[in-house]
Subunit: 127 residues, 2 copies
């Protein structure tokens, strides 16, 4: 993160303009619309850098892919095991991080996931 690159900016832009928690490959596809010959390795490298810099969140719901999230205000992830969708639920404050801090821990990022069945899939199931 010492020098500017339009590749990194494009990647960040993709993540900040969606709430779909894309995988590295999905980010790759989106960025290629702007920079057709960007390399997948570049996407991975920058996702790792952005994540380490705290500009982006890395979320794993256990489906074999790492997912990325440009939303940096505290929120809860609702992960539907049927349709795979991840929806965000904003939180007033990051209470858990505050609790951690009061215990001598220095927090720098939080990931909260509740897995189950979403409302939409719930109604479908009944039929």
């Amino acid at each position: 993160m010492k020098k500017y690159s339009r590749q990194r900016e494009a990647i960040l832009k993709v993540l900040c303009s969606t709430d779909t928690h894309p995988t590295a490959n999905q980010v790759y596809d989106r960025v290629r619309e702007t920079i057709p010959n960007i390399s997948l390795g570049t996407v991975y490298r920058n996702l790792a850098a952005l994540s380490a810099a705290g500009k982006v969140l890395s979320v794993s719901v256990g489906d074999g892919y790492e997912r990325f999230d440009g939303n940096n205000s505290p929120h809860l992830h609702l992960h539907c095991k049927l349709c795979g969708k991840i929806t965000d639920l904003p939180l007033e404050t990051d209470y858990f991080a505050e609790t951690a801090q009061s215990r001598g821990f220095t927090p720098d990022s939080s990931v909260y996931i509740v897995s189950g069945v979403c409302g939409e899939c719930n109604t479908k199931e009944k039929n």
Copy 2:
């Protein structure tokens, strides 16, 4: 999970008798003390089955390994990015799951992770 197997029971026992959030390979090593010729594939298959059955939690802190947790009362994971340790912080109630439920979502498991620097590493850093 239709038939009993001592391999699965041994795997569950390992997970219920530790709070170190072991990887599949670490579980494999521990179980081999009891069942020396158990196969790594068997460990993976049963971890997936136990996780799907809700008897075990699957936790991913983004270090390239899936980790497993036999603790099934609600708790927060404090993940230290320096030493890699994951410590548990018990929660009175699973408030987020309850919130999700009140929004029409049917929760069945929750994973909460706060990443940062643990108290121990904090004091080491100062020196």
